[in-house]
Amino acid sequence: MTPQTQPAPAPSPTQATAGTRRGRRPSLGAVALYPATFLALLVVAWFAVTTTGLVQPYIIPSPVDTWKAFTDNPEYLWGHTLVTTGETLAGFVIAAVVGVLVAVLMVYSPTLEKTFYPLILFAQVIPKIAIAPLFVVWLGFGASPKVLVAVLMAFFPVVISGISGLRSVDPELLELTSTMGASRIKTFWKVRFPAALPELLSGLKVAATLAVTGAVVGEFVGANSGLGFVILQANGNIDTAMLFAALIIMSALGVLLFAIIQVAETLLIPWHASRRNRG
């Protein structure tokens, strides 16, 4: 029956902040261990089927031949890798910027959303490989048709994740800011945009991997450089070792872009639940 007039004793700060995100985040080694082990087993299996003569080398080249494709043609591969990387990055950046702008416009204007959403959906469902030749007709054999295909591939996930991210903001927070007399622009930068970042970054990760595909699809249709061109040439020469080398570089390119955004995520949204629950 003690009267409670004092504020409740607060739990100690150390207790509340113990075990912060940083402390629980696993190291790179721990993250890489399982996939690295699996990859090593895969290479062993690859050795096994190729060196025993189980599979002909023109169907699957041995790891040694593939390695040779790298070491014998470093400048050739590097040059074409740079071309594809440039197209991919240009496509990704344009898709990200335009995608976010479109998402913002749609969230703020229902009329714009009703007008353009079906068109964007339409642009998304067209098979890109089918319209790529048209871009070559329009834009020639330079980098621009490849960049355009990459943009088209990467654009959609950015818009979708941007719209749902911008809508995910707590409506009560927006009401609160309306009693603060702040401008819409200030509310956007201080509330809406940061709230949208987790979903937007997920969309950007998907977009990054699609941008690589887009650039290579563009190269398939008409190019004299880039990894898509390397693959077509190697295919024509039945040089499967070179083909494998190009495939490996392309995958590495996609993974690298994905990883860069992953790192950006830990820097931009360390507060986000999906990241802190992961460990």
Binding site: A10, A16, E175, L176, T179, M180, K190
Partner: protein, 277 residues
């Protein structure tokens, strides 16, 4: 000591010292109807209510009686269909800057620590930074948040989050503090502690508070006057002056005959629709 210290330093928060004539809030003939697809909901009907400077008014009632709508009408977040509200003598015609609002959920910015969440209010209003920082430190001390300045919202308990939300609502020294079920999501013990603290803060500062709750005990313990509302259409059924003056310790107040008389009467009015706490 608290509420008025910063008046001198205030710049642009939007009000003068509360010395003038007339009530703080004047609600006259307010009707609110919402149209849904197939029907019209009469959320509020013929509400007349005045709230004086420095008064702690609680609004109690069952779910759907329009008590939250009434609070939103005062803040200018919901438009009236008929009648009107004046706040400090000026008609409410849109979201008002001179109120502080606390929701049931703390509604904090996940990416800011406790201190920066409180300072958010000042940033959005463009208040002087040095003044806002001083005021934030004072508020955090008053609400027992000292030591949690750097804690992120997800590291805080529900009660602590709501304290941050309260500090944010008080930062700009609003004329009226509007609270919509602020402790509804907290466990019973935390809720009791928050009640005691809110009462103490009100006793210390003498600010005007309007609290919406469906806890009868909370409504009577905290307020100097309690309004009981009923549903369909949302209307005021009865008002009670709670004649327990001065400082209210928690358990003695609960045993006070006046407290028991008023709570019993309110429970009777609300019948089976009231929650039992």
């Amino acid at each position: 000591m608290f509420a008025r210290t910063a008046d001198r330093a205030r710049d642009g928060a939007g009000s003068e010292p509360p010395a003038e004539q007339g009530p703080m809030v004047d609600i006259h003939g307010v009707d609110v109807t919402f149209r849904t697809k197939d029907r019209t909901v009469h959320a509020l009907s013929g509400i007349d209510l005045t709230i004086q400077h420095g008064e702690f008014l609680s609004i109690a009632g069952p779910s759907g009686c329009g008590k939250s709508t009434l609070l939103r009408v005062i803040a200018g977040l919901t438009a009236t269909s008929a009648g009107g509200v004046t706040l400090r003598g000026t008609p409410v015609e849109g979201p008002r800057r001179d109120v502080g609002f606390v929701f049931q959920r703390a509604a904090l910015l996940d990416w800011r620590n406790a201190r920066d969440n409180i300072l958010f209010q000042a940033e959005m209003r463009g208040l002087p930074k040095a003044w806002a920082r001083r005021r934030t430190d004072e508020l955090m001390e008053m609400t027992g948040l000292t030591g949690f300045e750097k804690a992120m919202p997800f590291e805080l308990s529900g009660g602590m989050q709501q304290r941050v939300s309260l500090c944010r609502a008080l930062l700009h020294e609003p004329d009226v503090l509007l609270m919509d079920e602020p402790f509804g999501a907290l466990d019973a013990l935390t809720r009791e502690n928050m009640n005691v603290e809110l009462r103490r803060i009100w006793e210390d500062t003498g600010m005007t508070v309007v609290l919406v709750t469906h806890s009868v005990a909370e409504a009577v313990y905290l307020a100097s006057r309690s309004v009981v509302m009923g549903p369909r259409p949302g209307r005021v059924i009865e008002e009670f002056d709670i004649a327990i003056h001065g400082h209210r310790e928690y358990e003695p107040t609960l045993e006070n005959p006046e407290f028991q008389r008023v709570t019993a009467r309110i429970r009777e009015l609300l019948g089976s629709t009231a929650t039992a706490d």
